[in-house]
Symmetry: C2
Subunit: 336 residues, 2 copies
């Protein structure tokens, strides 16, 4: 079935498959797609003597997660259908492909499907003797117990978990240490998002939720799940204040604390607007006596073509600064 | 005046100013904004003994051009108002700030305003003894003599010119050599774009052009200028074939030729869809007996929030491969 709509798409049933082939085609020497799966791993996985770091989840959040596969970050990622968890079988194949014998850290966004299927997969691989540890990312400060979630949702902060854990694994640390730094990010990060428009899933071809001409939604999830408040559209500065305040209230940081920030686009937001948000975010942090150590702006964890953004703030110490600035070479994130 | 619309924006009159501050805020140690201008330069510009490489143009094409300022690429960039050329005065200040005495290469996209204002600026700085050479990028194969252009338009291929010229300058080459490699890219690159939707300028708050629910426009310019054909929406594979064929017909490459490709998002297009286009693009190149040496996918030269994409193909030899893969460290492009 080909739904006639304004997307660069062939058949909605094929979009994840074709996207994955399109990702591999950017770096055919660096990626391997496991046969008959939606799992991408480094072509050289598993890496001798290195703990594997893997993640995965529904598609529609690109570049998460396949875009973060490479040196210094993930060894592999499983892609579910759009906004659907990968299967337990796919998580199992992913973990097995990335285990060199040193064990594997699974970075799981807190959604019921992902958590359940990763758990099933882990039970299976552990029976075969593979060590697996898990960290569950739940950085979204907007709501407890959302549409697909018990507890808080895992959103853009996940990228910092990938980065820190990936860097620690690249150093040759053992599984417990890699897990520890992943959890350390989780313990220190918060995110709050907002939508100007709904996303449109390829399958349905219509908005996931209705938002009036002059309305925005604060606290939106990355699948278009309801947020905390639907309100009249505000100026960018006011929106930035709402998002930033919500995160800072949750984190409760001491004055002088160093932070890394992400202004993340939801997929349909031009960079011009993200930079306008970043400008105000940095002013607000300065007003709060916080020190921005690094500021990221771009599309890191998206929601298909949704227009909107999220603000992520993560408190960093010397260890996290070293890990977050360590060399990385992936399609979506590169640092010398 | 605050237009009530679905953008992350304060006052449309302030959006470029606030965007530039937001860019500087990502790397305050790396950028300097020239006082009372919309010009960003490297904080350490001019670099002793190095030819300066500069560019600029209307805003709304982010990350072009400020996102490409940094090691191995541009020394500075002037940002005009949205879809308007920077002034001659701003180009003059840009060139002066980036001249260490070794001269400056100006990379100009072929739009009448940019060409005219850069020319005026160059006359002024040459009177002060600064050597300037220019390359004019005109990679858009869609149309001759468009709304703002005599000859072909300069679009996404400009990024490859920035990269090659910037790498050559970083090597310590002289001005003529830096110009030569910039022109070499121009002589070997072609681009064709398409729009699923119009962009909406902050000032007007309404679509720049009308496109029906089931229509797309092929050959669109990056300001929403008319293209070659308005047609019913097609499958992504067919759209990719239209774009790729137009570029290949223009370039007329020999079998076995190595190329670098860019699938460029127009600002409102999620990465998922760009990867679907890249998949088909690579198949088509393979069918034509061409060898993809490197494949880029992402938002490199945008048109505000327009949904759509462009396909760029550039024939490369050993020299261009070396320059295009040389180390670079800018907000929008980083390679180790």
């Amino acid at each position: 079935m080909w739904v006639r709509m304004k997307k660069l798409i062939n058949d909605p049933d094929d979009i994840v498959d074709e996207m994955l082939d399109g990702i591999v085609a950017t770096h055919p020497d660096r990626f391997r797609r496991l046969p008959d799966t939606q799992v991408l791993v480094r072509d050289d996985a598993p890496l001798d003597g290195k703990v594997g770091v893997v993640s995965g989840g529904g598609s529609g959040h690109e570049p998460a997660h396949a875009g973060y596969v490479g040196d210094g970050m993930l060894d592999g990622a499983a892609a579910g259908d759009v906004f659907s968890s990968p299967t337990a079988d796919e998580f199992e194949e992913l973990i097995e492909a990335c285990d060199s014998g040193e064990g594997v850290l699974a970075v799981v966004k807190n959604y019921e499907g992902d958590v359940m299927n990763f758990e099933t997969a882990i039970e299976l691989v552990e029976m075969e003797g593979t060590d697996v540890e898990t960290v569950v990312v739940n950085d979204d400060v907007a709501v407890e117990d959302s549409l697909y979630t018990s507890g808080r949702r895992g959103v853009c902060g996940t990228i910092l978990v990938h980065k820190a854990a990936g860097a620690k694994a690249a150093e040759g640390a053992d599984l417990k240490e890699v897990q520890r730094v992943g959890q350390k990010v989780i313990d220190n990060v918060g995110t709050m998002g907002m939508a100007l428009t709904s996303c449109v899933t390829p399958e349905k071809g219509e908005p996931t939720f209705d938002l009036g001409e002059d309305e925005i939604e604060l606290g939106i999830g990355i699948h278009g799940e309801p947020g905390t408040e639907r309100t009249d559209i505000m100026r960018a500065d006011e929106i930035t204040e709402e998002l930033t305040t919500a995160v800072l209230d949750d984190l409760d940081l001491d004055e002088g604390q160093e932070v890394v920030t992400i202004v993340n686009g939801m997929g349909g937001t031009p960079q011009m607007e993200l930079f306008v948000v970043n400008r105000r975010l940095q002013e607000l942090l300065d007003d709060h006596g916080l020190e921005t150590w690094d500021a990221w702006v771009g599309d890191y964890m998206t929601s298909l073509d949704m227009a909107g953004c999220s603000v992520t703030i993560c408190a960093v110490d010397e260890e996290l600064k070293e890990l977050l600035s360590a060399p990385v070479n992936t399609p979506a994130l590169t640092a010398p």
